[in-house]
Amino acid sequence: MQIDKILRIYLGDTWALITEFVLIGVALLAVYATLALILIYAERKICGFFQCRLGPNRVGKWGILQSVADMVKILLKELIHINRADHFLFRLASFVIIAASICTFAALPFADGAHVIDFNIGIFYLMAVSSLGVVGILMAGWSSNSKYTMIGAMRSGAQLISYEISAGLSLLVIVILSGTMQISEIVAQQSEMWFIFKGHIPACLAFLTYLIAGHAETNRGPFDLPEAESELTAGYHTEYSGIRFGFFYLAEYLNMFIIAGIASTMFLGGWMPLHIPGWDLFNNTMDYIPSVVWFFGKTFFCIFLALWVRWSFPRLRIDQLLNLEWKILMPICLINLILMTLVVVL
């Protein structure tokens, strides 16, 4: 890389490395924040379309600057001091949530080469870090000294921990198919054909179960009962205000992006263009589209699916939610795992 060479000329090796770390960190944070704004805008617009409305359309052309205005507003808001709350945990919770979200976000392969850390246990890392968020949620619920947040956090904890299993099992299907946990390797293996096509029925099933489980993990859509407005006001972040609430909000939207990003990386080929074996001309033309466009296109497609589901289905009750996971989704995932093993072995 050019920047690397220049830095190494002027600074020592150690300092060059540190500067690069900082630069990449800043870049990731910038992308994180911008994506959050884009996602909030897209969500509001698409939600409007689903309800036969126009969505935000006053600030800027087509309301493009609406989420920027909202961001400025939330930055200027007062941080309300909660009486008799556990202040240390109360403040820590929002940082835990956003840190978990950023750690997962940073490990996504955004484009060809634009991949910050490439472990040999990449998926394992993604799963582990993304489930750290539940700690923040429980912390927030417990420390706020309020019934609403407490019940919301308990529900959320139960939901996240249960659905983590399905999500993990669905990803394992792809790990079995590819034989590796390294994300770059998984993406590279999809250069001939995306795993959703390569893996026959088990891969399609795994894609569906992953989308459902991932959707439940982001506390959105039909699974948003931890923050069911009608009964819990806002769930675990009821007592938060100002930028601390903003952190929760940001993390929620980015978790949606992360789930969609993982789904597109694992099943839809990540940044890999659409390749059909035998069609060389088609494959070559597809290669001209930049890999960033491919990654974000697929991810936004998955996000659109999530929003579509969100505005189609009614909210589940807590018992229905857990029934869905333990009685339906998990058995399907386990059977799917066996099916995939058979496909790979035979």
Partner: protein, 170 residues
């Protein structure tokens, strides 16, 4: 065995129903949006014919209306919005008797003096227009009724000096 079969069938029927729901919402998404951008579309939007904005009494070019001051609309109005004030008009007509004498006959007839309409208490139920035997009053699409004082909502529907339409006797 039956129970297990039902469990598996439920998964499939359930997914099918969910897909049906998603199909409906997708149709909803691509449907034209119903939002009206009001101040911008002022004058451009065509309102439906039966939209009830304001009660009016149409007059023709000779400043004539169809109201006979029968008061049916006033009786039908559920909250006294309409007040028909009538007057008696005496017409003197000269008729020739069979004997050849010219005799003047005075006819007194009920006519409309003032048709008072209180927009502020109107509930736009349209009982007045549907009960009117002469079709003398009708609804228009004008809906921008905001004024600064309550008095401006009291409207007189017949114009000054207007009279009942004269029917052509054929």
């Amino acid at each position: 065995m039956k129970k297990e079969f039902g469990y598996i069938r439920e998964i499939f029927t359930g997914s099918y129903r969910l897909l049906q729901g998603m199909y409906i919402t997708f149709l909803n998404m691509i449907r034209p949006k119903v939002t009206q951008q009001y101040p911008e579309n002022r004058g451009k939007k065509i309102y439906p014919e039966r939209f009830r904005g304001l009660l009016t009494m149409p007059h023709n070019e000779q400043n004539q209306h169809k109201c006979t001051a029968c008061g049916i609309c006033m009786i039908n109005c559920p909250n006294g919005t309409i007040n028909v004030i009538s007057k008696t008009v005496e017409t003197v007509t000269n008729t020739t008797t069979p004997e050849g004498e010219i005799k003047s006959v005075t006819k007194s007839k009920k006519a409309l003096d003032k048709y008072m309409y209180d927009l502020g208490s109107c509930i736009f139920c349209a009982l007045c227009t549907s009960s009117c035997p002469q079709d003398a009053i009708e609804w228009t699409n004008a809906f921008e009724h905001s004024v600064f004082t309550r008095d401006k909502l009291f409207k007189q529907l017949n114009r000054e000096g207007s009279e009942l339409i004269t029917k052509n006797k054929e």
